[in-house]
Subunit: 575 residues, 2 copies
């Protein structure tokens, strides 16, 4: 059965199954969400109005046995940034959607009534059902209720209370194999789904399967690909310490933003480091290694238990721990884990929300280091949708605007994550030029600037950073289209067998003959499609800039400022 487009219109509550247009056929994941959004969403529409569309797409390899291919892409015009947006996540939904024969699910229109709905996806299409039971529920309760109602094996993509309240930092939560949550975290896509009146999407593939054109070739390629992944030292570190291995590394580099980006090192880094976390997890009988989707061979996730050895959180990422930790000057890992849990339960981006609280701390709403206060802000303010809660739930930019703070680390109104662009200049180019607002995952120059992956490049020098960011952004756009986890990039950059094996996987899946150049060109064309959408929405080169304070305030320990000129940044788009 050929894959189809499943379309849901929430204005008239109709659904259709459509043949895939020829120009979308070669796309999957981010390439497909961005292509559809660019084709069908008026760039100047209100992101929470009837003309925006939420597009959900598995990657080209999702639903196959290919290692690490379980990422789900969701796209729309972002209510946080006003740009085009793709946010991706692990969990089971990408694989299950692919098994439904769904190449993309498009949710459009808007109900007038204020009624809430759920969408049930099967190989037969989508049904729209009125939903009452889980409205207003936190994500963990909702997942538990729905797992009981629908069976544990169905995929779930849901919004939490933050998405119901249309907070601009609200995320989409995706059920993982253990019934915990992964998130399409960035850019407020949860608010878009909330604006459509959709509380959750369930996915039941029944006996659906993904067809593979050449299974022998596929198996051979997958073996080589998985070997490249597991052999790479960064994969191994990720399996042992999780992404939080980075706390000590980035602190050492002087690029760990601390106390709302006023310092580049955190005196409490040891207490929140991956090494400390690893030992604590073992002590509390959690799991050091854990996969967020079937087939992952890196297993960077973990199960973090509380002091009573009971489950507290998983997918406990470096960037969340940095944001809740160093950026808010909180060195208590249990406070951070509790906050991560609350953020998951509310269904709101941990980076955006924690950076927002860092700005609120600068404004004096609570003091830096006040872990209890931070938890109180999440439960009593954000969770209850108070005025202050809505300011924080609107992201770091909103907090800055509300309190007249000028040190607000955002690009295109999206919070800058865990790497100071003054001390690690390549990532600053990614923040500035990304089509999605500040986002480290769009072109992770940390690999080369700090980790020595894909060569080395002095993070404090401007030399070569634009080219590095450009090459990584192009590659990332392509990887994000395959359904592959971005962490395959480390192996892809260093191991000559990795990328050819990935291309073989795609070719074997579809019976085609893509080359490496084709993949590069795919990445370029995705970036250009996204950029064109943003230009049509009214963005200009002046939006490809870091906030003024990075140029005015040197950051310790290197005492460096952001010193790229606008013209230098703008060479990014010369391809």
């Amino acid at each position: 059965m050929a894959d189809k487009i499943f379309r849901v219109n929430m204005t008239d509550l109709s659904t259709t199954i459509e043949t895939v247009p020829a120009e979308w056929a070669g796309h999957g994941g981010r390439g497909l969400t961005s292509t559809i959004v660019a084709a069908e969403v008026p760039p100047t529409c209100h992101p929470l109005g009837p003309n925006n569309k939420l597009v959900v797409a598995p990657g080209l390899l999702s639903g196959t046995p290919a290692a690490n291919s379980g990422r789900l892409s969701c796209g729309a015009k972002s209510p946080l940034t006003g740009t085009i947006k793709e946010s991706n996540s692990g969990g089971t939904s990408a694989q299950l959607l692919a098994k439904c024969g769904c190449k993309a699910l498009i949710i459009e229109g808007q109900p007038k009534s204020g009624t809430w709905y759920n969408l049930a996806v099967t190989p037969d299409g989508v049904t729209i059902n009125e939903e009452k039971e889980v409205i207003g529920k936190g994500n963990f309760d909702a997942i538990e209720i729905l797992s009981e109602r629908l069976g544990a094996s169905q995929g779930i993509i849901t919004i939490g209370p933050a998405g119901e309240m249309k907070m601009r930092a609200a995320n989409l939560s995706v059920k993982d194999p253990d019934g915990h949550l992964r998130s399409c975290g960035r850019g407020g896509l949860g608010a878009v789904m909330g604006s459509k009146g959709v509380k959750f999407i369930s996915i039941d593939p029944k006996d659906g399967k993904v067809e593979i054109a050449d299974m022998d070739k596929f198996r051979a390629a997958n073996k080589a690909f998985a070997k490249a992944l597991v052999d790479h030292p960064v994969s191994q570190a990720l399996g042992t310490y999780g992404t939080n291995v980075l706390v000590n590394i980035i602190n050492e580099s002087g690029g760990l933003p601390t106390r709302n980006f006023t310092q580049g090192q955190f005196e409490g880094h040891e207490q929140i480091s991956g090494e400390t976390m690893h030992d604590l997890i073992q002590e509390r009988e959690g799991k050091v290694k854990h996969n967020c989707h079937k087939g992952c061979v890196i297993q960077c996730s973990q199960i973090y238990n509380d002091a009573k050895n009971e489950y507290k959180t998983s997918g406990f990422e470096y960037e969340s721990i940095w944001a809740l930790g160093a950026d808010c000057a909180i060195d208590n890992l249990d406070h951070i884990a509790e906050a991560d849990h609350l953020l998951d339960d509310l269904g709101i981006d941990s980076i955006e929300t924690a950076v927002a609280i860092g700005v609120a701390m600068e404004a004096g709403v609570i003091q830096f280091g006040d872990g209890e206060g931070l938890l109180r802000l999440l439960t009593d303010e954000v969770g209850k949708g108070t005025g202050l809660g809505r300011i924080i739930g609107g992201g770091a930019g909103d907090v800055g605007r509300a309190y007249g703070v000028t040190r607000v680390p955002v690009v295109k109104n999206q919070a800058i994550p865990a790497y100071d662009p003054r001390a690690i200049k390549g990532i600053g180019i990614t923040y500035a030029t990304s089509t999605q607002g500040a986002d480290h995952t769009m072109g992770y120059t940390i690999a080369t600037n700090v980790l020595g992956v894909g060569g080395t490049l002095d993070p404090l020098s401007k030399e070569g950073q634009v080219e590095l960011s450009r090459n990584l952004q192009i590659a990332t756009a392509a990887i994000d289209s395959t359904g592959m986890c971005l962490f395959i990039a480390f192996a892809a950059l260093d191991d000559a067998t990795c990328l050819p094996a990935l291309i073989d996987l795609i070719n074997a899946r579809f019976g085609i003959a893509l080359t490496g150049d084709d993949v590069t060109n795919l990445g370029k064309s995705i970036l250009k499609t996204e950029h064109a959408f943003n230009l049509a929405a009214g963005f200009t080169n002046e939006d490809d800039r870091l906030p003024e304070f990075f140029s005015l305030e040197p950051v310790a320990p290197h005492n460096v400022v952001w010193d790229f000129t606008g013209a230098e940044i703008d060479t990014f788009w010369a391809f």
Copy 2:
């Protein structure tokens, strides 16, 4: 004594007196503030950071006996809109500043300490003094204390609690001849002054006088000019009913935005009309006619007393009454007057704040029509700087973002005032294209679209509206440079003696020989200077658009939508 530039640097607390550069010599008021901001403020700087500058300038005729010449212009990059901003006001300060020989006061830099200051302007320059006594005080208390401290005759330009809190709707309040307040209302200039650590500016001209090159010619011109003003029927209506004469007129036109722009007529219009207000003022022994500055011959202001015949508010304008009234569905004029008083005391724009509350009503924060609730929001939330108060104090756009409302009447994030652009299309062109965000005073097409001043033009037809708005915006930019009240425009449009008399006044003041074409060219050049600043700040044609809902939702009674294309709007700049 030739006029000088008074410059204050709040970073190092230094002051200088500077000769006026040749290229600024022909400018005053808005022309001068915009020229200085464009020359000295980096367009992409943070509006509340050290690189923004607040420029205060009397008009070309301020301080002379010319009728209606007492307007004060204040300019900066706006924290509300991100555009260049000029906001002007009556009161005594323009005349007193001119008598100090101050062509413009430039306040730049930013203190690091959090200390508050006042600036004392005399003909000898500016002194910077630490201020403690009136910090945290409402405007009425502050003015009373300062009038006692400094004497009643000094000019005062101050910020209220809203400006101290750097709310983006905070205004600059200017003392009027009775010790009440007028406001440079729009665009958040109060937050800019707050960000400079300046609580107030006092102005003591001592025995300073404005020199007039040809007094005989000046007197003759002023006589003709004043006659043209007082003879015009709109001037007479303004003197009798104030600007609030418009409630019934605009309601009749179907362009009175009601319940957050969901209707074009308000069933309670009679209760809040200028006619009702006139009778109530007389009954309560207030004043129907009142001038906001010496020499005004129109006297559109009034003294509105409460039910105990005690002073409640003055300068009680149609746009404020509309915003607090029809837009919030409140038909109790005493609630509206109390709100106007509170807004003045807080030092926050009545239009922006009331439209923000209209959006909050749509979000369900309080109900439409809840006058007591509105007062409570102002005192307990905005006044106390709570989270909700800061959302409202950030303006209508912030409320929309915080609550996920899509019907948010703003252009360039500034609230659309009292005339629905679907039913009165010329004003929509002004809202869309104004360099300052939505602002009726930038090109008041209501004159021709509704009042029959300067000819007539069907408000429901697109025909001729761009040209009308363009001509009025050019004329307004010139008028705003003279220190003249905008209400001279009615006479200028209809009475052939008015504009030549105004030009004679300027020529007699400076001993020059401007022509009508010179004045038109001045207006054009101001608009182009402002537009160039905005483009350099990253604005594009896509920002010259009304919100999407105006195109999607027909408004009763005419059931019309906003139907200009982008390309049609963009012809505005073809001059």
